[in-house]
């Protein structure tokens, strides 16, 4: 051991932990020899007061802090002292009991530890109150330190040191902030009963903290923070997209609204002016119309008057015309009727004849009415006819009739007789051949007649059976001359015809009477005719005059008709004018009413019309000219426009609030609803760009989040790298029979993969090459990405935050010779007791060493109980390894361990443990030089 080796020199306990005095060398490996339960561990644990200092980090197992204090500091002269060789020289750190309270305080000074300094001349130990002055007397100006101050000194925390403090840095840590961890591990290495992978992990994380970007990632809040905008934008985009039809309708409404505003602004002064002028216009127009109407009425009256006169004239003329025409017609008729009448006498004659005929009829009828019946007349007729026939026969047979024959043939007497006997008709028969009488034998006849005459005696003719006085008989036929006969015949004929007529008349009395009537009628007709004829004659005479008159009248009528027609037309047109005037008046009136109504319905005095000019509008391009006659329409249109505008206002406001309900809130911050709408429409119009921009934002958010995750992943990688170094460190020497002893991080695959997914997504986003490809697979809809995100959020929420230690766990990988490496989480179960002890110790020392400043090696101590369970080979290895890490190893066992440099037995004096340097046994290898 060279003096240049800085580090612990010795530990001294005075009146403490059951030791009256203990001096333990610490500048090299030590084997404390004592039976079990004799205070080996207490001795080592005493170091905690000096090295750990912080009560919270000290560990005395099952003992309570009070008991521990009482045990270590029973008196105010109880001391725990440590001598250290530092680059600044030898130094002593001490802890002294304060007495009854079992409290203690720290002191330190530069200089070597000389036990005489603490012993009074009477052999008693220096009590705490006098310690500082005593040490000062001994030339060692000690200082009392607060625990925290001393800790700052020991762990080289310059910031907490005063400038006049000596440099007492025993543990030159690379990072003084790791003092706490160092202390905890140191405690553990002093007491290696329990060290599992989780603790190792915790320590290693502490140790490597400065290599890791020590970030506690609240992934959810990071994600939410980065995606807040994106999600908000996306929700806005979705809401707008969902309501696009509505928004388009609204945009149209807005356009209409702007137009309407322009129109209303343009029309408003005109309407004002129009309404002001209207009353005068209405009055004037009314009067004018009324006047025109009245003048038309007068005109129409005149026309009507004239028309009446014409009608009268027309009627008169027509009557006259008809009269003349009637005459003419009469004339024509008569002309036709009397076409064959040459003059009036002809007719007179006819009348005469008829008159006679009638008279005859009258006579006959009268006779007939006076005379017998028809039978008597018929008998008369028969008689007369017979007479006439006889006469005719006589006339016919005047030359050869039977009478004459008889006259010629017969004597007078006979003749006379026969003429009396024979009937006249027989006598008048013709005697010509072939007739009734055939006188073919005249002599026979004459004889016969003679016979007959014989029978005649006087006037008496006697014939068998009868006699006849012929005197009673007249001669039947007296022969008359032809002339006589003819006259007689004529008479007969006349009588006959008269009788026949009479008979006829009697038999046909009704007929005759009728006939009489007919004849009388004829007569009357003829009388008419005669009258008519006379009329004809007079008409004929007036013909030319008449025709002239007719023509004149017709001309007159035509003239009247013409005039009437013109008049009617005139009147019609006047009436039409009047009607139109009436309509105009009505129109005017209705306009007036409408205007009045519209005037009251005007909305433009109310908001928003009274500040319409301040609102955005489209200037109206149509020329606006106020026409008084159209004022009603215009004002109504104007009112309608106002109404419509208000309607649109209401609708838009409703629709807007509907959109708000739908979640479109992006533009609500605008100063007015109007600007909100404009912004909304602009946004909607550029929806695809917005989508792209959201996508870009999403990507940049992914990049942001990924950057944080990348830190995590990098930390994980750094940690793994440091772990490899650490493994190298603990594997420099083989531990026991372990072929492999490693502490390796095992990644939590799912989490690391999720992180990787996010990072690689962000890398895709970053690299322009795959931008297009990426475009098709929108970040926000990436399933894999979302899953990774959800996993990390879930994990982060469960753990409060996401830290690098959540991404892995540590396993001990152990393999003995000829075995496959196996992973263990708890090293205790991995191997035999001794091996496990070694592994723990090495791990602990390596960790402590890891924290120390490699430039300032100050050798401290570590402790291994039950050292007997290790063989010497392993003990040596362990000692060397510990030395490499800057530790002197303290073995504790009932038997001496000869691998150590010092063997220190614990003795007992008056019931108190004691270790005196006089009992130290220093072992040194026998070298050739030594032997020599």
């Amino acid at each position: 051991m060279s003096l240049a080796q800085y580090g612990f020199q010795k530990l001294v306990l005075l009146n403490s932990a059951g030791y009256s005095r203990a001096e333990l060398p610490l500048d090299d490996s030590v084997s404390i020899i004592a039976p079990n339960n004799t205070g080996k561990t207490s001795l080592i644990n005493a170091l905690q007061f000096l090295l750990i200092l912080n009560k919270q980090h000290m560990d005395f197992g099952a003992h309570s802090p009070e008991n521990t204090r009482r045990f270590y500091f029973p008196y105010n002269s109880s001391y725990i002292l440590l001598e250290v060789l530092l680059p600044s020289g030898m130094a002593v750190i001490g802890c002294v009991g304060k007495g009854l309270s079992h409290d203690y305080e720290y002191f330190a000074y530069q200089g070597s530890l000389d036990l005489d300094d603490y012993r009074l001349q009477n052999g008693h130990l220096v009590a705490q109150p006098k310690l500082i002055s005593r040490l000062f007397e001994c030339g060692k100006p000690a200082k009392i330190y607060q625990q925290a101050d001393l800790r700052a000194l020991l762990y080289g925390n310059r910031q907490k040191q005063r400038s006049d403090d000596p440099d007492l840095t025993i543990f030159p840590l690379e990072f003084t902030s790791q003092a706490g961890t160092y202390q905890r591990i140191l405690t553990r290495t002093l007491r290696l009963d329990r060290l599992d992978s989780r603790e190792v992990k915790t320590y290693l994380l502490e140790i490597f903290k400065n290599d890791l970007q020590d970030r506690s990632v609240d992934f959810k809040s990071e994600w939410d923070k980065n995606f807040a905008d994106v999600n908000y934008d996306k929700s806005q985009y979705d809401a707008v997209f969902r309501n696009k039809p509505l928004i388009e309708t609204m945009e149209n409404s807005q356009q209409t609204r702007l137009g309407l505003r322009g129109k209303i602004i343009q029309w408003r002064p005109l309407i004002e002016q129009g309404l002001n002028d209207w009353e005068a216009h209405f009055q004037n127009s009314s009067i004018e119309l009324q006047q025109r109407f009245e003048s038309l009425t007068t005109e129409i009256g005149t026309l009507e008057h004239r028309q009446k006169a014409i009608f009268q004239d027309q009627a008169n003329a027509n009557i006259a015309l008809k009269e003349h025409e009637k005459k003419e017609t009469r004339y024509q008729e008569l002309t036709v009727r009397f076409q064959f009448v040459t003059d009036g006498t002809q007719l007179e004659k006819q009348r005469q004849a008829l008159q006679e005929q009638r008279d005859d009829l009258v006579t006959r009828i009268k006779n007939a009415e006076q005379h017998q019946s028809s039978d008597a007349i018929k008998r008369n007729i028969a008689k007369i006819r017979k007479e006439r026939d006889e006469l005719n026969q006589q006339l016919t047979n005047l030359n050869d009739n039977f009478y004459l024959q008889l006259q010629k043939l017969l004597p007078k007497s006979s003749f006379d007789l026969l003429t009396r006997l024979l009937a006249k008709s027989v006598l008048s028969l013709s005697v010509t051949e072939g007739n009734a009488i055939d006188l073919h034998d005249k002599p026979a006849f004459q004889s016969l007649i003679g016979v007959l005459e014989s029978k005649l005696s006087g006037n008496l003719l006697k014939l068998p059976g009868f006699s006849l006085d012929i005197s009673a008989l007249e001669a039947n036929l007296t022969l008359k001359t032809a002339h006589e006969l003819e006259t007689e015949i004529d008479d007969c004929t006349r009588q006959l015809s008269a009788l026949e007529k009479l008979l006829q008349t009697v038999e046909t009395l009704a007929q005759q009477k009728q006939k009489q009537t007919g004849v009388e009628r004829q007569i009357k007709a003829l009388d008419n005719d005669i009258q008519d004829y006379q009329e004809l004659v007079s008409l004929k005479e007036s013909e030319s005059t008449r025709l002239q008159t007719i023509a004149e009248i017709q001309r007159n009528i035509a003239g009247l008709d013409q005039e009437e027609l013109t008049l009617a037309d005139n009147k019609k047109s006047l009436a039409a004018m009047q009607t139109s005037l009436k309509t105009e008046q009505g129109e005017l009136q209705s306009q007036h009413q409408r205007i009045n109504a519209a005037r009251h319905q005007r909305l433009d005095q109310q908001p928003p019309f009274n500040f319409l000019e301040q609102l955005p509008s489209l200037p109206c391009m149509e020329p606006a000219v106020l026409v008084m006659s159209a004022l009603a329409d215009q004002i109504e249109n104007y009112n309608r426009d106002c109404q419509k505008l208000r309607q649109i206002d209401d609708n838009l406001s409703l629709q807007l609030s509907k959109l708000h309900q739908e979640g479109v809130s992006k533009f609500q911050t605008q100063d007015s609803a109007e600007q909100e709408l404009v912004a909304l429409f602009n946004y909607t119009a550029q929806l695809s760009q917005e989508q792209a921009s959201i996508e870009r934002k999403a990507r940049s958010a992914v990049v942001q989040v990924a950057a944080i995750l990348r830190d995590l992943r990098n930390s994980l990688e750094s940690f793994k790298r440091r772990m490899r170094e650490f493994n190298n460190k603990i594997n420099r020497r083989q531990l026991s029979d372990l072929k492999v002893f490693k502490i390796e991080p095992r990644e939590e695959d799912a989490l690391v993969k999720a992180i990787q997914t996010l990072i690689s997504t962000s890398e895709q986003v970053d690299s322009g090459n795959s931008f297009d490809l990426f475009d098709h697979n929108a970040v926000l809809d990436d399933k894999e990405l979302n899953k990774a995100k959800d996993l990390l959020i879930k994990e982060g929420e469960a753990r409060g935050s996401l830290r690098v230690e959540h991404l892995f766990r540590l396993v001990f990988i152990i393999a003995k010779e000829g075995q496959e490496p196996a992973e263990f989480e708890d090293i205790d179960s991995a191997a035999s007791n001794g091996t496990v002890l070694m592994a723990k110790l090495i791990t602990g020392l390596a960790m402590l060493n890891q924290m120390q400043d490699p430039r300032k090696q100050i050798k401290t101590a570590c402790y291994l109980d039950e050292a007997a369970s290790l063989d010497q080979h392993n003990q040596r290895n362990l000692i060397e390894t510990a030395a490499e890490f800057g530790f002197s190893l303290i073995f504790a066992s009932p038997e001496p361990q000869i691998t150590a440099r010092y063997c220190v037995p614990i003795g007992n004096v008056q019931g108190k443990n004691t270790i005196s340097r006089l009992n130290w046994q220093i072992l040194e290898a026998i070298t050739a030089e030594n032997q020599a």
Binding site: D749, A750, K794, E795, R809
Partner: protein, 188 residues
């Protein structure tokens, strides 16, 4: 050791889950897992006092170790063991790394392939159709060996229990290459 039950807010759900024979998987039940991790020793002690042996495997699963098995779980365990073994064999044949089993997607095509490929073996266990396989997987999902997401089964870390067993068996076989088949059967 004094256990303050107020410090263990998730005791009820944890106990309910674990005592039902289900496995707690690290990422599936993050909250419970973290709770268990943070208070591991308390829970171990508490459950031990109740007669349950809590096993918390750092690979991401926890369960109550029990030696008793009901006939049902016995049958399910046997069938699931068979299925998983076949699955591991099949996937190994496909060149997939067994330890990445959590990334496998056990979907219908894969189940059908398994069914066709190991028809005869499955038949012996009365697993006659892909539907039966799914039923077994569903049952396994209920006790935390798998999880069904979007119609796809994913193996959970608890499957390490089976995988460890398979590896042990494989190791045993490798270490004793000369052992006869009968002996191997006895070992199993």
């Amino acid at each position: 050791m004094t256990i303050d039950l107020k410090q263990l807010p998730q005791l009820h759900p944890l106990f309910k889950l674990l005592s039902s024979g289900a496995h707690l998987n690290r990422l599936q039940d993050s909250e419970l897992w973290v709770e268990l991790e943070n208070h591991q020793s308390q829970y171990e002690t508490l459950f031990a006092a109740l007669g349950f042996s809590l096993v918390l495997d750092g690979r991401g699963y926890a369960y109550f170790k029990t030696d008793q098995a009901s006939t049902y779980t016995g049958k399910l365990t046997r069938r699931l063991a068979l299925l998983l073994m076949l699955l591991f064999e099949y996937q190994a044949d496909q060149g997939l790394h067994l330890f990445q089993f959590q990334q496998w997607q056990l979907d219908t095509p894969l189940i059908n392939k398994l069914h066709i490929h190991y028809h005869a073996i499955l038949e012996a266990e009365e697993i006659t159709s892909p539907q039966t396989i799914k039923e077994i997987l569903d049952s396994a999902a209920r006790i935390g060996f798998l999880v069904l997401e979007d119609g796809v089964y994913r193996l959970q870390p608890a499957v390490h229990r089976y995988l460890d067993l398979f590896q042990e068996l494989a190791q045993a076989e490798r270490n004793d290459p000369m052992q006869t088949e009968d002996d191997a059967g006895d070992t199993l």
